[in-house]
Symmetry: C2
Subunit: 199 residues, 2 copies
DNA sequence: GTCTATATGTAGATAGAC
DNA sequence: GTCTATCTACATATAGAC
């Protein structure tokens, strides 16, 4: 999935993908700033120079695996904007968000974002993603503009994320985590727009 | 407050405190790893060597302002452990947590933790704080051991934190943020232990 | 208590051979 | 496509003068 968009003309998509995978893991586990290109190269059994053949800089590696996540978020936002601000569509929006989070190659990329919030402030990919998270939260809060609704929306999204680490038992399946997070997200979201609904 | 524990014999507590304040701000805004001692020194109008007179290393600066937060958390945990696992004591626990968060010199230290989770993994102060956060969450989940209760507890704590950044309007007062976060924390926590209560 | 000067390491990144 | 070798910059940290 990581090298999916790549043209076939670039023959050895293998090394490129392996760089992305290792970088994503290390960036998530020990942080973007602390992870050196030397470390990534060593883990792969190549030299730093090889990395620079595939990516022109360190933050380009980040961009490469963040790109398609941004694309998915854009689809989600576009869909959400076309929906009426009802309990139903709020629920569906968070369900779709959770699908992205738990789907495809697991939650690796989202965990990377979570763990590198600060470092990502100075990376373009980080700013792009940040803006989209805020947009999704705003869509969830609609039609309310109250501060409480804003926090409810943020908590609903965080429910999806936190089910990953707050449940420390590693034997719990992704599906179980997903269900718990959605139950709590519903609980939080369903109280949004009650005044508007009643009116 | 930052240099409170300091002995009076150390005459110029001023510079030491100013280093802590500037470091805390920069570590929070742009990240621990990315912030250099040169940057901190320049901002204060001194040289790096001066910093090393007051602190023997970079992570010692972190320890210095984290220490008393750890102490407060320990008091909180000790108090919590002595309470019965009821709706009432759960509420009071999160109220006290919020007091720590919003109290004293604002939420600066807690924001620093939030923004540097990954970097703090390799710092002793980080590991210490992390363990205490988990302990508080466990106390909130009692007497339940269900996964859902664990997520409820984590979300309740995050409600306190998120009220700081999820409400983007800067004119909202700390008191308003505190009230909103507690309302939502109650909502989440009050459903813990319902089976045990009923039994 | 703060300075100048410097030691020492490692980071990201490039040139050019193979 | 990957290598060796190297550049440049900046990091943390220390020694010793004032």
């Amino acid at each position: 999935m990581l090298g999916k968009v790549m043209k076939v003309s670039e023959s050895t998509g293998d090394t490129r993908s392996r760089i992305q995978a290792v970088a994503l893991e290390l960036f998530t586990e020990e942080g973007y700033e602390k992870t050196s290109l030397r470390e990534i190269a060593e883990r792969l059994g190549v030299t730093k120079a090889a990395l620079y053949y595939h990516f022109k800089s360190k933050d380009e590696i980040v961009n490469s695996f963040v790109e398609d996540r941004i694309g998915l978020m854009d689809e989600l936002i576009e869909w959400g904007e076309a929906q009426p601000p009802t309990v139903e569509s709020r629920r569906t929006l968070v369900v779709r968000y959770a699908e992205q989070f738990f789907g495809t190659n697991r939650h690796t990329v989202m965990r990377f974002f979570e763990q590198n919030q600060t470092a990502l402030k100075s990376l373009s990919a980080g700013k792009e993603m940040r803006a989209r998270m805020i947009r999704v939260a705003d869509l969830l809060a609609r039609p309310e503009t109250s501060h409480e609704a804003q926090v409810r929306a943020a908590l609903a999204l965080f429910a999806v994320h936190s089910s990953w680490f707050a449940i420390r038992d590693p034997s719990v399946t992704d599906e179980d985590r997903r269900q718990i997070s959605l139950k709590l997200a519903y609980e939080l979201l369903d109280k949004i727009g009650e005044t508007a609904q009643a009116a």
